[in-house]
């Protein structure tokens, strides 16, 4: 490599830093995969090795699926996150349209309230919401998992900011063409906002798929458990924590999210390039 450029020191430093950061981020995942692949004896051995001497991933997976109804929990996760997302979109899009494109008294005040809502952590309202669900007799049901999250102030804010960039002429053209205001939301604004909806979908699905706090509070029945609770199930076993199957279960639970994210990422980029016209 006589004609190769000398690699500047700064470039090396940059890459070392980036690799270190990436390693730090990936370490827990690598540890999870490593542990999920080890038999019980190796997990508790004192020496540190990432690659197991004997691969036990299949055994651990089998044990994980035998111990808990993982498929059922995954299905619960899908039902809950999809319902939350669909309902959030159904609420956020018309609200965001009204805040971005309609002129009415108190619009700015309402938008200020939306911004204020973003500042409130969900934990702060957990007890009142829990009590309301109790009064309504909805505890320990899908409704308890879904209903508190249907109005996403963050979603309203995000969509409103995106709708602001949609030209007013497009809305006026739709009105001249005879599309109703709700029709404009679904037929004109939604197709224009696919990238924003996808971005919001990633936030929403990740947050609610991984949510441990709320399902733990409102659920009793085992058959309604969401994936994070299912993982916890392995820890609370009175026979002691079985780390191999626990990590295998964690892998299974994370897999849909990773696959969904990769798929959404492609759609996301596609969406941006396709709708980038005036």
């Amino acid at each position: 490599m006589s004609n190769a450029h000398p690699i500047p020191f700064r470039a090396i430093l940059r890459h070392v830093l980036l690799i270190a950061g990436a390693a730090l981020m990936l370490a827990p995942f690598i540890w999870m995969i490593s542990t999920a692949s080890k038999p019980q004896t190796e997990i508790f051995s004192s020496e540190l090795h990432l690659i197991p001497y004997r691969f036990a991933l299949a055994d651990n997976l089998r044990e994980a699926f035998a111990k808990a109804n993982l498929l059922r929990f995954l299905l619960n996760g899908v039902i809950v996150t999809i319902s939350i997302f669909v309902l959030q979109v159904m609420v956020a899009l018309p609200a965001a349209y009204a805040l971005a494109k309609l002129r009415f008294l108190g619009r700015e005040a309402l938008f200020a309230l939306v911004l204020f809502g973003i500042l409130i952590p969900p934990q702060a309202t957990a007890i009142p919401v829990f009590l309301m669900l109790h009064k309504a007799g909805l505890l320990d049901s899908y409704a308890a998992l879904v209903l508190p999250f249907t109005i996403s102030v963050f979603g309203i804010f995000l969509m409103r900011q995106f709708f602001k960039t949609v030209p007013d002429d497009l809305v006026d053209a739709a009105r001249m063409d005879g599309i109703s205001e709700f029709g404009i939301v679904w037929r004109v604004m939604l197709p224009a906002a696919i990238p924003a909806v996808t971005a919001f979908g990633i936030f929403s699905v990740v947050a609610h798929w991984n949510d441990y706090f709320w399902p733990l509070i409102v659920l009793n029945s085992e058959q309604l458990r969401t994936p994070p609770l299912a993982v916890a199930h392995f820890r609370n076993n009175e026979a002691g924590t079985s780390y191999g199957p626990l990590m295998a279960a964690a892998m299974v639970i994370i897999a849909p999210l990773v696959i969904a994210f990769l798929f959404a990422q492609r759609r996301f980029i596609e969406g941006i390039t396709l709708t980038g016209i005036k």
């Binding site: 030209p167 006026d172 053209a173 009105r175 001249m176 396709l274």
Partner: protein, 383 residues
């Protein structure tokens, strides 16, 4: 086709009066241009006619029927927007079909999946397809029907937008500066195309523009708006030759009309630059402004003299910028013969015929000339 009547239309935004009482009547089949500088309220007026903006007071009548409480789509007007406002996710075909689908299909038939299965929708879709293809044929966009707006050029998008307006056979077409996003060459071409479309459809066209050339070349009548008021309406020739306000005279015509300081004598005669003009008026003595169009300035002969400070030769015509001797003023003369141009910095004599002169009072209103004078002015005598 429709006759549209506006009476005492007022509109204000946040306390600022944008329209200060507009009364106007647009006849059946007219091509009306609403023209004026930006911010004069012409677009707001168009949006009020369309129903996209409610007026604070006043009425809009379409074919004698008040439409103030009627939704935009129910007024049966079509609008072409400056940005074209095509639906970016729909093909050209679907863009043009939207108004037809909204009108002809029921809510159930419009449902995304279920609707397509209904036999009644399929029959209606066949008619819609025929109508859209007919329009596309007329506008020469048939090969583009499958493309998305993002894949079309500016001129093609413009045609699609016109197609979407035409397909519903509206009572009137509203155009909001539809050519301002096109390049100069295409704009001239589209001007001819729109005028031809108007002749063919014989529909009422209301056309908003800040470009006086568009207004002059296409319309059957021009309405000039300034500062929220409609100052003058008339045929392009009337507006050009007989502006009733100095702002109209200055806005219409390129290059701008030359305005010289003048003086009305006690006997009604008019002096300009210290020389008496062969005309008189009935107005009170005092200051006035004298307007002369650049093409009515005769360079080479006349009582005035000036120095050539700038020459613009456009090939077919030329503009000579003259600094008037002893007045510190400049004026522009248009020469039709570019082969005999005065040299730069040379001194030339110039004058203008009496009938080329338009006189305005200090407030800008037109001062009428005396009738017998007007008669004598027909002869092209130099002052």
């Amino acid at each position: 086709m429709a006759q549209i009547e506006l009476s005492a239309i007022r509109k204000s935004f946040d306390g600022t009066d944008v329209l200060k009482g507009i009364d106007f009547r647009i006849e059946n089949g007219e091509f009306i241009s609403l023209v004026g500088p930006s911010g004069c309220g012409k677009s707001t007026l168009l949006r009020i006619i369309a129903g996209l903006e409610p007026q604070n007071s006043g009425q809009v009548h379409i074919d004698g029927r008040p439409v103030d409480a009627i939704r935009p789509s129910a007024r049966n007007l079509a609008m072409v927007f400056q940005s074209y406002a095509l639906y970016p996710h729909l093909s050209t075909f679907d863009n043009i079909a939207v108004p037809l689908r909204m009108r002809r299909l029921s809510a159930i038939e419009r449902l995304p999946l279920l609707g397509t299965l209904l036999p009644s929708r399929r029959a209606k879709e066949r008619h819609i397809r025929a109508d859209v293809e007919g329009i596309a044929e007329q506008l020469d966009i048939a090969p583009l029907l499958r493309r998305k707006p993002g894949q079309l050029s500016g001129g093609q998008r413009q045609r699609v937008a016109v197609g979407r307006a035409m397909v519903r056979e509206p009572l009137a077409f509203l155009f909001d500066e539809p050519l301002s996003n096109l390049d100069a060459k295409l704009r001239v071409h589209m001007r001819a195309e729109l005028a031809e479309l108007h002749r063919r459809l014989k529909a009422t066209f209301i056309y908003v523009t800040h470009d006086q050339a568009e207004a002059m070349t296409m319309s059957s009548r021009i309405a000039v708006m300034m500062g929220g008021e409609l100052i003058q309406a008339g045929t392009p020739a009337e507006i050009y030759d007989h502006p009733n306000d100095i702002r109209v005279a200055e806005f219409i015509g390129s290059p701008k009309i030359n305005v010289l300081p003048g003086r009305i004598r006690k006997d009604g005669g008019v002096d300009v630059l210290g020389t008496a003009l062969r005309l008189s008026c009935n107005a009170a003595a005092g200051e006035c402004r004298v307007g002369v169009r650049p093409e009515r300035i005769d360079v080479g002969a006349g009582p005035f003299s000036g120095t050539v400070v700038h020459l613009e030769n456009l090939g077919a015509e030329a503009f000579v910028h003259l600094a008037i001797d002893g007045a510190g003023l400049r004026l522009i003369a248009r020469l039709a013969d570019v082969r005999h141009l005065p040299a730069m910095a040379s001194s030339v004599a110039f004058g203008f015929a009496a009938d080329a002169v338009r006189i305005f009072d200090p407030a800008g209103k037109r001062i009428e000339l005396r009738a017998e004078q007007a008669e004598r002015m027909r002869e092209p005598a130099h002052v």
